[in-house]
Symmetry: C2
Subunit: 505 residues, 2 copies
């Protein structure tokens, strides 16, 4: 009979090996998005299917259950939030999930999503919802079935799906915060967009050489903390950040030679994700104790660096003179205030991924409301466009011209990712609450930013968030770090503080 | 009891899956050489070890033996060179090899090579042979042991190792061809290097923008047949070509802004490999019938395009005007004849990888002689430098200044790759013999090259070599295609035809 300690060691090794295997998958995925030749796509799908098959087989291996049982009755599991407790808790949760879902269902979901995603592309390109409708209906039914198999503790179907992205959160809690946030945000947006003092956007849309943009972006990423010895920046169509191993974190962006802001803030966003990934405890790589807390916490890191830091004045006190030197023809006569105003332009618009920092959250609230209705059957997919357009009008005071600019714009539902959207808005909320707490302890940090020193913030994030791995849930972490539960007022305060002066409000 | 056909289908699927797995390894290896961040190296080694462990386990699965036995007594195996015969023959050979080598020995070789390779790097950097000597001794002992376990049919130890690279060849046969070749080459080299008419090399070493080199190189690669929809070109330190799947073949090069020739001929060389890879029968991908014949035949394809085609006049009748347009400042006043002379400069020198087309073969002959002596114990590794220097003097009439420019220059032995070197010279020999045969059937093809049409040659290679997969050995293929066994006279003839006029001989 092995001791609990021996079982724990076996588990550590077994699960780490599965993580190494999954990290191979990440390399293949990264390559698919960056460098894969056109004709290589179908073989790449075959490679990915093979590796995920091997991984799934490992993750349902019955020995995991036996080893876990040994550990769960031992002192390894007795102290909450300890490394071993965290690992055992999460391994158990994942194992129980994995064995509850029959291989046949996994295959059916994978197949349906693959076909559904293709139909979504066509549907969006033609702005013809009827093409996607049967697939969306099927995807919803499959995801419901998936959730029904997993439901524990009388959780709702939606909360069960949410758990894949935001463990420890509930729709009820999120709804409450989101509705308060929405009610406060709407008049703020109104004041900003009706202000007479609007930015001159032309300054962002001159000819900006991509080569120079890249040098500037890499310099800024490095300055705020991205380690290029353990990562890189590549070009893609849909930017993302991915970890391929404990010292290999890759970010991506897309370039526009006629826009200085889009790639740059994309880089800052992905750098925020990457800094989190690079500062997770690498000694625990491959186990929950070395993993990120949730999608929402990950998003808080990207949004903190992108919006709170890189769209604010202290950051540009340091970087704007550099940018002016690099693009002197375009910017030497443009005062910093005008540049700051332009990169913080607010406009009610139809497309989420093009939205500004403030209206973005409203886009998420809309999707969060709708996906709950869809998954619980309260909204029939056939009625989605009408419902979307009506609700969009209420939130944005805009008519939706067509479904490509409405309910067909996002990829998520075609991938079956119900419960994913809240993370984006939670990220904004967490970021503001974390940062408020940090600022209380470092009231003069803006002076450091002026001089290009972002170490105080970086170190605070590492100490309070990154280095903790997955030792607690997001609600526990926010409480632990800031001494109170999630509170929408920090985001409102942060937005007013930055935007009202810019718009003379 | 399954039928032979059922067993064959099982084998096809099982072995193809192993090939898909190995192709994942190829992606990870390609990324390691091209884009892997510095700190990612140790995790990448772990990923590669995991995948090759899984692959090795599959390749020694006892079911392979059972399935093969079913097939071997059936009509699937009765017709030599048929697809099923080829597959069964090669699967059997590989399986028997794999099960004969204990996992412990594989691990020991892998570990020793990894350490030995590091010691070789240090040894070469310091030009201090004593650092590498103990590792070389150990590597030789392990490779001997490896070969002893594999020996069949009274083969020699060296021939057993050679079989990993050149199945069907023997040291005896190669020695005979190489010694005839050497005896004829040495006076040819003497005539060329003592000719009064020597090229002006300055024209190659002006400032050549890498960006423009890349465009020109890609255009040439595409023109001779590289399919960029199923492949790409990237930058590395040590150029190579690799297949990552049936429609994903990647070539690499290194750039020198002060040399128009080095990257370009590197690209032509790797394109030759790639064209072979891209035209193997993709329906048989993942099985021997869809694989290349041998290293030597692969090398014949790279050397044919690099040396016979891309260093000769008809090719440049088409491309030189383009090159002059792109680099008009450097080349507009340089006649084609001068350029051709410069790219065919011949010089006795110490380093194999920098050698010209003619003296290169002598470098290989030296290594082929020495590695046989080392592996059979007739040359003690401690005496390697002295022996190398003496033999080098005889072949090249040059003194070796230090071991970094002598016996420490090549990576191969540090990797345990004994039996690999002959492929390079065999490639030159095969290429000349194939091409001579092609020219007999297409005497006016130079006119096509003048107009940038390389399809006649490409199609001939596809029909006679690429599309055949591994259905015969290299000696069988050369006999089948050219109606005679390997004959050194074709290479001598090809070299004299090109070089003598260039050097007024």
């Amino acid at each position: 009979m092995p001791t609990p300690e021996e079982s724990y060691e076996k588990l550590l090794e077994f699960q780490r090996t599965t993580s190494v295997l999954n990290s191979c998958t990440s390399v293949l995925r990264w390559d698919r998005e960056t460098y894969l030749p056109l004709s290589g796509a179908s073989h790449r799908a075959e490679q990915l299917a093979l590796l995920s098959g091997i991984s799934h087989e490992r993750s349902t291996n019955q020995r995991i259950d036996e080893w876990l049982s040994e550990c769960e009755s031992s002192k390894l599991f007795s102290e909450p939030h300890s490394v071993s407790n965290t690992n055992i808790r999460e391994w158990r949760k994942n194992y129980d999930k994995n064995v509850k879902i029959p291989g046949k269902l996994v295959e059916e979901i994978t197949h349906t999503i693959s076909m559904g995603h293709k139909s979504w592309i066509e549907s969006r390109n033609k702005s013809d919802y009827s093409i996607f409708l049967p697939w969306l209906t099927k995807i919803i039914a499959l995801k419901r079935h998936y959730a029904e198999l997993l439901v524990t503790d009388n959780k709702s179907i939606y909360d069960t799906l949410l758990d894949d992205y935001e463990p420890g959160e509930s729709a009820e809690n999120i709804s409450q915060v989101f509705s308060q946030l929405r009610d406060e945000l709407m008049p703020v947006i109104d004041k900003i967009v009706t202000s007479a003092h609007q930015p001159n956007l032309d300054i962002l849309h001159k000819n900006y050489s991509i080569e120079k943009q890249k040098l500037f972006g890499e310099d800024a990423a490095k300055t705020i903390g991205f380690n290029f010895d353990a990562g890189r920046l590549d070009t893609v169509v849909h930017p993302f950040c991915t970890g391929l191993g404990p010292h290999d974190t890759r970010i991506t962006t897309r370039w526009d030679s006629n826009n200085i802001a889009s790639a740059f803030f994309g880089i800052m966003h992905e750098t925020g994700h990457a800094i989190y990934d690079q500062n997770l405890p690498s000694g625990h790589w491959g186990s929950p104790a070395g993993s990120s807390v949730s999608l929402g916490i990950h998003e808080s890191q990207s949004r903190l660096w992108e919006n709170i830091i890189a769209r604010d004045k202290p950051f540009w006190n340091c970087f704007y003179p550099k940018l002016q030197r690099i693009f002197s023809k375009n910017l030497s006569n443009i005062p910093l205030e005008d540049f700051l105003h332009a990169i913080n332009y607010v406009k009610r618009s139809h497309i989420r991924v093009e939205a500004d920092e403030i209206t973005y959250t409203l886009h998420i609230i809309l999707r969060f409301e709708i996906e709950q209705l869809l998954i619980t059957g309260k909204l029939n997919p056939i009625d989605l466009p009408e419902f979307w357009n009506k609700r969009f009008k209420e939130l944005f005071d805009l008519d939706v011209p067509d479904d490509a600019n409405g309910c067909l714009q996002d990829v998520h539902w075609s991938y079956g990712s119900f419960g994913y959207f809240p993370a984006y808005a939670l990220g904004n909320l967490y970021a503001a609450q974390f940062y408020d707490n940090f600022k209380k302890k470092h009231p003069d940090v803006d002076d450091e930013y002026n001089n290009g020193n972002f170490m105080p913030l970086l170190n605070w994030l590492i100490e309070n968030i990154h280095s903790k791995g997955m030792c607690c849930t997001a609600p526990e972490l926010i409480k632990h770090v800031t001494d109170e539960p999630l509170n929408h007022l920090y985001l409102i305060k942060s937005l007013k503080n930055k935007f009202y002066p810019l718009y003379n409000i």
